[in-house]
Each structure stands twice: as C-alpha cells, then as structure tokens.
Amino acid sequence: MENESKNLSAEESLKIIHEMIDVAKFGLHDNSFYFLLWGWVVFLANIGHYYLMVFTQYPAPQAVWLIALPASLISVIYGYRNRKSSSVKTYTGSIIDYTWLAFLICLIIIIVFSSRFSYNINPVIMLVTGMATFITGIGIRFKPLIIGGILFWACSIISLILPFEYQYIMGAISVIVGYLIPGYMLRNRSKQLKTRHQNA
C-alpha cells in the first residue's frame, strides 16, 4: 500500500475504511476448528452411547465419552499455538474466549454433579452450549451460529419431553445443527474473506 494522499477520493477513503474494519470484524475470528473438532467428537460420542445402551449389554456405555480427553488435548495444543502466533487482540475475541471459559466451568460442574441431575445432563449441557454458541454468533455477527445456538435450546426442550435414551439422539442432532453446519459455513466464509483480502 502506497502512502499517496493526492489522488485519494472520498469513495476510495471509504473503501479503505470498510476493508480494514472487515478484517477486524470477520477475518480474525475463525473458531471453526473448535466447532468442527467438538462437533464430530460429541456427535460420535452420542451415537456411540446410544448404540451401546440400546443395542448391546455393555455395562458402561458412558465410556465412549473418553474420546473427549484426546480432543481436549488437541484443543489446548491448537489454542496455545494460535495464541503464540496471534498478533492482534480484539474486544470481541476476549469476550468470546471468556464465554467459552465460563461454558467449560459450567460443563465441569454439571458433569461432576451429574448424579444430582439424575444423570439427566444432556438437556442441561445443550442449554449452556446453546448460550455460548449464540453469544459467539452475535459477537462475530454470523447468523448460522446464532441460529445454531437457538437450535441447541430447541433440542434441549425436545430432549426433556422425549424418553431418556433419545437424549443421545437429540444430542447428536444438536451438534449437527449447532456446531457442524455453522462450523463448515464459518470455515468457508473465513477462506473466502482471506482470498478476497489477498486479491484486494
């Protein structure tokens, strides 16, 4: 970019402003990795849990959730690497980070005290997941995530109405509509923005 001010028209000025604001607004918040990773992990765990519980005599179907452990490790490593190379700090980014930290704290409390919830924790987890997804969607102004958050709440309500074992089917459906579909859309949008910015 040259520093020539003589030929800068009002329209060109506005274009520069818009382009740079777009970078801060959209280009910096590609959280799609986490949505896709956790979308697939939670989807597989829910389906696995349902299958083991309904179709087999396996005594501990909840063991499938152990796949969350390596996924947590991957998340931490990915986050650490990104933080190291991150050269910009945004207010939105901080709020989103803290929202997911708050979500994690809720999640741990819910899991530790799951017996107090009569093990009926899936709909409760969907509620807090919906909240964090909804706030992230609002923060990065990305409608599919906002809708995803609302659909998590809808799935939670349906889970509370249906018999217990269907909670796992609803859990799987909720991550498809709440994490995976918006996650892939977010990844595509970030790619498009990157290409557009490089060509600008």
Binding site: L8, A10, S87, Y91
Partner: protein
C-alpha cells in the same frame, strides 16, 4: 475531484487511514499484523506509525517477545475522535 480542505490531512492518506481503520476495530495490534493486512513495506509503515504516534492518534508500545522486538499499536481517545470527525466530514462530502 473535490477539494478536501476539512479532511484531516494526517488521516487523508491511504496507509495512515488503513492503519487507523484497522486499529479502530481491535484492542491492539502488532506491527507485523498491520504490515500483513495493509501490504505496506516495513520502512513506510514505520514512518507512518511514527507520524500517527507523534500526533497522539495512536500509542505505540515497544517490548520484546523472547529476543525479538515487539511493537504494539493501540488507538487513543484523541485518535478515535479524529477518526470519527474524518468519517463525518467524508460523509458530508459524499452527500454533497
């Protein structure tokens, strides 16, 4: 081509305007990030950042990350006000 007499000459420049527009949307940004996003050369960017900093529009913090020098830029309230005035004047010109 209309005359932009009321437009802040410090902001009415391609690179300085890009720097300010970038900083307006973030809490802080490192030199390398601004360089990548604006596509400017390090030398030119450094000169323009100095100008904005001298005018009090941005604050520049120099530190180290490991052994590498680290320059972090932030918009100041004076800079924010100047940017808002610039955009208002710009809209006025376009609306004319």
């Amino acid at each position: 081509m209309p005359e932009f007499k009321d437009l802040d000459p410090l902001l009415h420049s391609q690179l300085r305007l890009a720097i300010m527009s970038l900083l307006i949307g973030v809490e802080s940004a490192e030199f390398v990030f601004i360089k990548e996003q604006t596509g400017a050369t390090a030398g030119n960017l450094s000169v323009q950042i100095d100008k904005l900093s001298q005018a009090g529009y941005i604050s520049v913090e120099k530190s180290f990350r490991g052994k590498k020098p680290l320059t972090t830029c932030k918009i100041t309230s004076k800079g924010l006000k100047a940017f808002e005035d610039y955009v208002r004047n710009l809209q006025h010109y376009i609306g004319k």
